[in-house]
Structure formats: C-alpha cells, structure tokens
C-alpha cells in the first residue's frame, strides 16, 4: 500500500503546470532521480536495447497494445518514430535471441499501478492527473469502514524528454 504524500504531489502538479501539454508523457518508478532523458536514450530503452538505468537497475518497460491510440501517440510525439518500426525492432531482437519484448498492459490505470510498484519501471500515460482525494469513511449497517486508498499515482516521477 503506497501512502499519499501531499507535498510530493504538489511538486509534481507544479511541474505539470509550467510545461506545455503533451499527447503522452513518460512515467517511471520514483527510484530514478533523472529529471529528463534524451530522445535517443528513450528510443534505446523502449526499443529494448538499453536494459539498465545509469545506476545499474534493470529497465522494465511497460507499453499498451500496438493498436491503442495512446501507444501510437506516445511513439509519434515522444519517441518520434512510427509504431510499426518499434514493433519490428522488438521482433528483430526477439526472433534473433538477442532481446526480449516489453510487458503489455491493458489500461492506463494498470500502467500507473505497474510502474509505481516495479523498481526500474518506465512507461507512458496520456496526461498526468493526480488521484482524487481518498473517499470519506463509509458506514455500512452502523460499522465504520476505513477510507479507501485509491491507486496512488503520487510516487511516479514524470520524466520529460530533453
């Protein structure tokens, strides 16, 4: 269970406010302090060739299905490469025995959850949005239930491409 930290959320929100809107943004596990990565390094990471962060932590790549609009928007706006090229690059590594393919997730919510909980993870989302405040405690037949802790996006570091 990941705790909700208001001051970190505020820092991330401020970061989003001063930056222009993008079709997709890179997200990563907070274990990596890099504020920005170059496009060529990101191509290496999402291309499944660059397998380690500078500190040696293995890179764990999460992507949506090839047909998802967000995946295509990410390829075109962030990586600036054609989605079919990325797929062909992965297949070339896979079927030559020199690489593996990324983990496919099925929604942005799953993307956030997996990236937040996997050291070394990197992925992308459409627009970074703060999670809603925890719901107030509900009572059922007179018994109080603890407030729900919603899937936390707080610990995810938003990386902006240089």
């Amino acid at each position: 269970m990941i705790a909700f930290r208001r001051h970190r959320l505020l820092a991330v929100l401020l970061l989003c406010c001063v930056l222009p809107a993008a079709a997709a943004e890179v997200v990563a596990h907070p274990g990596h302090a890099d504020a920005s990565l170059t496009r060529s390094t990101l191509r290496g990471m999402f291309g499944m060739r660059l397998r380690a962060w500078p500190d040696g932590t293995p890179v764990r790549v999460f992507v949506l299905d090839d047909t998802e609009a967000l995946h295509q928007a990410f390829c075109e706006s962030v990586l600036q490469m054609f989605p079919y090229q990325l797929r062909q690059n992965w297949d070339r590594l896979l079927y030559s025995g020199t690489g593996q393919v990324p983990t496919v997730v099925h929604s942005e919510e799953e993307m956030l959850r997996r990236v937040a909980s996997t050291p070394g993870a990197i992925g992308y989302v459409g627009t970074y949005s703060a999670p809603p405040r925890p719901a107030p405690a509900k009572t059922v037949a007179g018994k109080a239930r603890p407030p729900e802790i919603l899937p936390a996006a707080d610990p995810i570091k938003v990386i902006h491409v240089r």
Binding site: A52, M81, Y84, D91, S96
Partner: protein, 412 residues
C-alpha cells in the same frame, strides 16, 4: 527425419533452459513462438516440394518456439527450436536455430557494449538474423539474391552458426549506430551443404566450416525513418570427398565465400522502400579431376528493390524485383554455360541468373494471426533447388517459371 546428436544436445539444453527458467518463476522469462502452414502451386519448376503437381505442395511449414531468460541484469539466455519443412530442400523435424548467452559488459545512456556465445544468428542485411518467423519478413519469401532460402544456404551456416560475437550500440542524437560482429568457429555442417554449394549431389563428399567472420554496421536515423547497413562475411569451408572417392568430386579442397552487402531503407507511415545490393567472391579449389568444376573463381552478385504499402493497419501490399547473377562479369550466363559444355553435365545459360518479380499481400485477421499470399514471375533457374527438381543436374530446369504461394501464420 530424426534429430541427430549435433542438434539434439543443444536442443535439450534449450528445453532445460526454458524449464529451469519457468520453474524459477521469474518475471524475466519469456516464451514465444510461431506456426505457419504454406501451400505452393508452380508452373515450370518445383519449389517447396512437388509444387508443379496438380494440387500443389503443402510441404511448406515453419514451427518455432523460443524461450529467453534474464537471470540478472546484464545476462540474457535464449534459445529457439524449430521444425521447418520446405519440400526436400529443408526437412528438419527439430533443429536448434539459436541457443546463446548474451552479456552486456558496459551500458549507459549513450549506448552499450557486450558479447555473445553459442549458436548465433548470422547478422547480414536487414532480415537475416530474424528471418525464421514470417512476421519479421516483408512477405512469405525473402529476396533470394541475398537471403539464399531455396539455394539451401541454411545448410552451410548462413542463417546461424556456432561461434562467439561482440556487439555495440551508440545513441548519437538522431542516429542509432549498431555493430554486430561474430566469429564462427570450426564446425561440421549439414549434409546438404555440399548440394547447396556444388548445385548437385556431391556423391558422398561433405563440406565443413573452418572459420567464418561476419560483421554488420547499421545506422537507424530518425527513429528508423532511414535505415542503412553494411554487412561483410568471410568464410572458409573444407571439402572432404567420400571414401572411397567418387566422381566427379573426388579430391579434397577448399571453398571460400566472401560477401559484402549494402542495405538502405526509407520508411513513411504508410509505405516503405527497401533495397539491398550484394557482391560475392567465391573460390573453389581443386575438388574434381574435371576442369571447369574446380578450380573456380566467380563473382556472384544480386540486388533487389522492394516497395511495401500499408493500406490499412491490418492490410499491406508488397512489390519487389529481385535479380541475381552467378558471375557479375557474365550477367547472361553465356560464358559460364559455354564452360560447362565440355563437362559431363553441360548446363544452359539460364542456370546462371534469376530475375524475380514478386507481388504479395498480407492481412492480419488478428494481431497474432495473419494470412499472406504471393505471386512470383521468374526468368532464370539460379534459385532452383536440385533436391526438389531431379532433372536439375541434367540441365532440365525451365527458364521461365512462376509460382503462387499462400500462408496462414500465427504467433504467440
């Protein structure tokens, strides 16, 4: 055809790897594969079986399973086994296509350097190292001039070979530079290597690989909008005649095969243009008492131009012209044909070139299931395989021939 010891041991190792990795329950284990069944109907010559027969040939299938495991960051272990049939030319119930350990020695935001060893895919051009799965090819078939599918080059280690390799990536702005180099060490080759090289049954003799050096330098510019590659291959094979020696290939000798390839590709969202050009130098020492069979020096060459159009996300089209000649100094085969007239096996001019017009299409029924179709119009018999065409050795292969092929393919 049963797997022999040479393939069985690495195959068992590959299965052991997959089993161990799976048992370890690691997230870093991946298992993938492919299965494809093709059918061919031809007129003029046979390809992938008795395709000239009414009803064509269904002896065209590819089944493969691969496993990869990253036990810790820099180390990758992977193996792929396959069952491939292409008529009599390739009839492998179970073979190890690759089985290797890959270790990244240095890695950083600007690139990486590493080493590999085992049975490695041979890095030539754009398609050679991942060619086994149809999903990685531009269509059902690869351009024969460079990729030597029906010429039987799989048998002499052109697709994969045991060896060790080095690799490097350099990420420099819009350029991504890749280097793949490998050294193939001494190894026995498949019995079919002699047929592929000599273009006729070798009367019991065999070729083995002494050594091979292969390197490919490529540049992907703009995320792959432009792709360039230069590939070089230098191999030395040794011929050992049968005991007792039988004519015509009755003396020990050597075969040297050198090749350079220049590759270029331009990609747009809806279409791509690809061209690859290859120059070879082959030298065959005295392996026969007959002149013109050995010694022999030839300069084969080939090139192709291919256009692909992605009409929709699911439906794409292909158009290709592919040309190969046995000797660049004799593009119409006149001199080569004349040289064979004095031998026991005189051959016509069209045996020394092939020009192939190909039109193809692929439709993705599902992200993992595709149906493909191709039509080839061929002038020349240079790519005809003797194993599917018994009259080949006697000069009986047709000059003008064509074939249609259809394939259903799935991946997982």
């Amino acid at each position: 055809m049963c797997a022999d010891r040479r393939t069985l041991i690495p195959l068992l190792l590959g299965c052991l790897l997959a089993g161990t990795a799976h048992a370890a329950g690691s997230d870093d284990v991946q298992i993938h594969g492919f299965a494809a069944q093709g059918w061919v109907q031809s007129a003029g010559n046979n390809i992938y079986g008795h395709s000239e027969n009414k009803g064509g040939s269904g002896q065209y299938r590819e089944l493969g399973v691969n496993a990869s495991w990253r036990p810790f960051g820099p180390l990758l272990l992977s193996a792929q086994t396959a069952a491939i049939q292409e008529g009599k030319a390739i009839d492998e119930d179970l073979l190890l296509e690759y089985g290797l350990a890959d270790y990244t020695v240095v890695s950083g935001p600007g690139g990486r350097l590493g080493a590999r060893a085992g049975k490695l895919k041979v890095p030539i051009g754009f398609y050679n190292d991942s060619r086994d799965a149809v999903f990685t090819r531009p269509g059902i078939t690869l351009p024969e001039s460079l990729y030597l599918e029906t010429s039987g080059a799989r048998a002499f280690g052109y697709f994969s070979a045991q060896g060790s390799g080095l690799y490097g990536d350099w990420y420099l702005g819009e350029h991504a530079i890749y280097l793949d180099a490998m050294y193939a060490w001494e190894q026995e080759l498949d019995d079919r290597a002699a047929i592929a090289i000599l273009r006729s049954p070798a009367n019991g003799g065999r070729f083995d690989l002494d050594r091979g050096l292969i390197a490919r330098l490529s540049d992907e510019y703009g995320g792959g909008r432009w792709r360039f590659a230069l590939s070089y291959l230098n191999t030395q094979l040794a011929y050992v005649p049968a005991r007792p020696p039988t004519l015509p290939f009755n003396q020990p000798g050597g075969f040297r095969f050198d090749q350079g390839v220049m590759s270029v590709q331009y990609n747009q969202p809806a279409w791509s243009l690809t061209s690859e050009f290859t120059l070879r130098r082959i030298t065959l020492d005295d392996i026969s008492v007959f002149p013109f069979i050995g010694p022999l020096v030839q300069n084969p060459a080939g090139w192709y131009l291919q256009g692909a159009w992605r009409m929709t996300q699911k439906w794409q089209w292909l158009l290709r012209y592919d040309e190969q000649v046995r000797d660049l100094n004799d593009r119409h085969g006149t001199k080569l044909s004349a040289a064979t007239q004095a031998t026991p096996a005189p051959l016509p001019e069209h045996y020394f070139f092939a020009r192939d017009w190909t039109a193809g299409t692929r439709y993705d029924l599902h992200p993992n299931v595709s149906v493909l179709a191709e039509f080839h119009l061929v002038d020349g018999a240079a790519s005809v395989n003797p194993l599917d065409n018994p009259s080949f050795g006697a000069g009986g292969a047709d000059r003008y021939w064509n074939f249609v092929t259809v394939m259903l393919a799935l991946r997982f």
